[in-house]
Subunit: 424 residues, 2 copies
Amino acid sequence: MRQADVVVAGAGLAGLVAARDLVAAGMDVVVLEARDRVGGRTWTKTFEAAGTAVDLGAEWVAPNHHEAVVREAAKYGLDLALDQTKDWDDADPLDTMAGSEYERALARLDKDAALVAFDRPDWYRAVEHLDVTMADYLEELGLRTEVRQRLLAESFALMGASENDYSVISLLHEVSGFGSARAAFEGESARIAGGTDGIARAIAEQLGSRVRLGHRVEGVGPHDDGVVVSGDGFSVTAAAAIIALPVNVLSQLRLDVPITPEAGRVVAQGHVGRAAKGWTTVAGEADGLHSVGWPDAIEAYAVAGADTSAVAYFGVAEPSHEAALQRGWTALQARHPAIGQQAETLSHDWISDDFARGTWHTARPGQAVGWHELAANPGPFFFAGGDISRRWFGWMDGAITSGADAAVRATAFVRGQEVPDALG
Amino acid sequence: MRQADVVVAGAGLAGLVAARDLVAAGMDVVVLEARDRVGGRTWTKTFEAAGTAVDLGAEWVAPNHHEAVVREAAKYGLDLALDQTKDWDDADPLDTMAGSEYERALARLDKDAALVAFDRPDWYRAVEHLDVTMADYLEELGLRTEVRQRLLAESFALMGASENDYSVISLLHEVSGFGSARAAFEGESARIAGGTDGIARAIAEQLGSRVRLGHRVEGVGPHDDGVVVSGDGFSVTAAAAIIALPVNVLSQLRLDVPITPEAGRVVAQGHVGRAAKGWTTVAGEADGLHSVGWPDAIEAYAVAGADTSAVAYFGVAEPSHEAALQRGWTALQARHPAIGQQAETLSHDWISDDFARGTWHTARPGQAVGWHELAANPGPFFFAGGDISRRWFGWMDGAITSGADAAVRATAFVRGQEVPDALG
């Protein structure tokens, strides 16, 4: 006797959306979540020192592009609050020569991105000859230092990884999605009012006791005609499984699941997203702070709290989250002496986090095929998540579309109908 | 000797986007357009009497949903100008009883729309049991007159058709796309600054002499190993054809193209979009006018011109475009006596227009399968257009995604590669 029609591993956005849509389709669903909270790599927490809630993980939405987020917000009556932080006024202006070199680099990105078939699972087909690291791509362009640094800094907000690790086709995919490099770098941005985890919490409330917190999945495999998903002290049998865990944790699991060799390679390698994000209060003045630079405190912005401003700043988590934040703070204070000393801090090390092992998805060269083959895996083992979605992978939007798509496919599978191709 | 790799029939948004993407992929392309202008059912024209440009056809964009439009605007440096016209302040308020009945009706639409798989070509699979006319759906809900009329009026801006003709699953598809019925009805709207045809004109400029105006396609069929597309005094041979014409004109063509029976049925029947849109100047005061009602002058709004306001108003073009506008004007003036007499008018009858034969796509009951089978037609005959696109069909966004997708498929076909499934 199976315990559920579908067992969902992971209560991040993808798993929650999948579970909700499965329930709407009449399926019995169990969701297993290792943490003591839902939301995965979205996590809104009160920063007492500033008197405001801040997001330790995912924070930004591009409302003109992330339609799935817009829809979910509409469903749960959540507002999107526009905030223009990607403001370069604060950066050192480029001189005329550097400025025209910068414009040529943007034009080159636009030209290369025109070959990307953004909406398709095989979006990379026509840019495979460009599948090299960002560092190599920029090297070939032969840019002067300040132009190179500016492009790296602007790209970081999208990529969240080291230029030595990520493939430029990941960036070209973003440029294609936003319509141009300029639009990608300056894209209007918004937050979900009240905190990014609002959607996850609203869905979890709908799902009620179907979501089991503190249940760390350790094994996924076949069982009779279906599947079994198990961990310390529990096992759940079902007709199908949706594995909605960060891909970077899959290699820690006993995954007795047939997947393609390319998919196996991305599971073994993982993605290269390694952003360090820190929040701090300061002794000095930080209201309205916008700052960009390279390679430390790559982007920084202030959020007004009830008591004082909370300042967020970012870097590449090399060699560690803590080291990046320390370098970042030093760099930020050097650029903006008026902010004074660091007071209270708040951050989460997503790289060391056993349930994340990285930040948002950014691919290495040579991986493009594998990610989507994981998404296309046939039943009874379906994979979902922002790491493997079509279209806006790496964003909350991708987690949502991927979860919704996995639900459609798993429902068809459980009903014995033809399982449609993966599209989410 | 073929004259082109791909011949594109129709220089509306779908055909133009397809042609541009084909050229970017290195294809030789010829675009044949019957009219003396590009843009198809988008047409921006100067309304001299008001001193402003107005759109005689497509006008509105939902920027949080129509990502393909946002991207195209970014590509060509066009701005989106927000305008909140779907304002119900002007409508008679519903009393408490009617108000709660209205809320229940919205909740019912939301519940039914939750079954729609918006992003999938087979989006309708789980709502086939609801594939009845809007009139029948509302009849079953047993609503009082003012609630029914309000729902019909709010739906009209999305459907542009008679409630006796269109299937409620077309409306549910929109509700699903926007996230909720309320979001669909009150969706923030924007125009392309400078006129809706800005995108079409920008692409046509890129394509240059590849676009041949005044070339009305009359026949499409096979030729040697490829295709031939012909009309009065011309014929173009190519390896593949993209037929990017309004579906409602296809039955007038000699279409020697194998298509599925379901697709053949939608070609024979056409869609039921029959909106009459008129522009007028008035003798009285119309600044800031927002008005809604049913069944005439269903929606009306004013646009400020250099000289005076231009007022747009809509109705179902039954029995004709002219009759609907006449009834509409009478109704509008009765609701808003301050606008005074009608002065100059400007409109285009899209229903009688031999190159359109209707306004934007809205499907009858029983047609859902056929539209996408037309989009999925294998090479060498590919179909494209806002009538048959996945996702935002009926909108400019759908025309763009469909055209882009047809270009990907036709390129693969011409290169002898495997042709991917239709996704646009």
